[in-house]
Amino acid sequence: MPNGQNLAISLALDMRAKFCMELTEIQPLAVNTTKLINFIAKETETKIQIKTVSGLQTLRGTLIRKADEAIILVGDKSINTECWERFTVIKEVSHLFLDKPEWFNTDTVKKANGLVSREIENSHFAGEIEVILAAIELLIPYEFSTRMAHMSNVEEMTSLTIAEFFKVPLLYMEYRMKKLDIPIIRP
């Protein structure tokens, strides 16, 4: 794994260790994203506003960063399931403790073209994989791996059901379980 990705995971693990994993009351395995964001705001000394926007078709979320303030705009159910909404806000807020200043860019056209072409040019795309890895570490903690293995192998739950317990997208739950070497035996 590239050094940048290892560093991103390491930083996310540090953040998670300090946060002490506050879980939602409704679902006991789901990390409380509101509380996690408030915690990251204090750790990064950043005032964070997160707003939900309707009527989107292409973007799950957007981060607008100022010197000591961040605005995260996340799409509602018009584009995001609850799992994707939660993942998106944590993914965007992870930029605040991962991104290097030399990656900052406000040229929206260049940024959009860079994402579509997936070419790493002046870091328009750089950092995206790292923040996704960080969000996975924050929302699907390694500490739960035994529980996940039990759910999969003993309780015979599908990975989709397990993802719902953690309230994360199936895509990233499957990635996590593969990395933890938990067999995914049922679709």
Binding site: N32, V53, L56, L59, G75, T106, T108
Partner: protein, 57 residues
């Protein structure tokens, strides 16, 4: 959108497309404009974790 960004001390902007391989830059910019316009005009709501919204049984 770019004018607002330039006028409001923004130092970085990040987009998270639903499907980068299927999206066009134009579509990304269109949605970004929609998002920022909603923010500027206060046409959005504060985020609360979906599980804390009190909508579940």
């Amino acid at each position: 959108m770019q004018e607002w960004i330039n006028a409001n001390n923004v130092i970085d902007i990040q987009f998270f497309p639903k499907n980068p391989s299927a999206a066009s830059a134009t579509e990304i910019i269109k949605d970004a404009n929609k998002m920022i316009s909603a923010y500027i005009n206060d046409k959005c709501s504060n985020y609360v974790d979906p599980l804390d919204r009190g909508e579940h049984a």
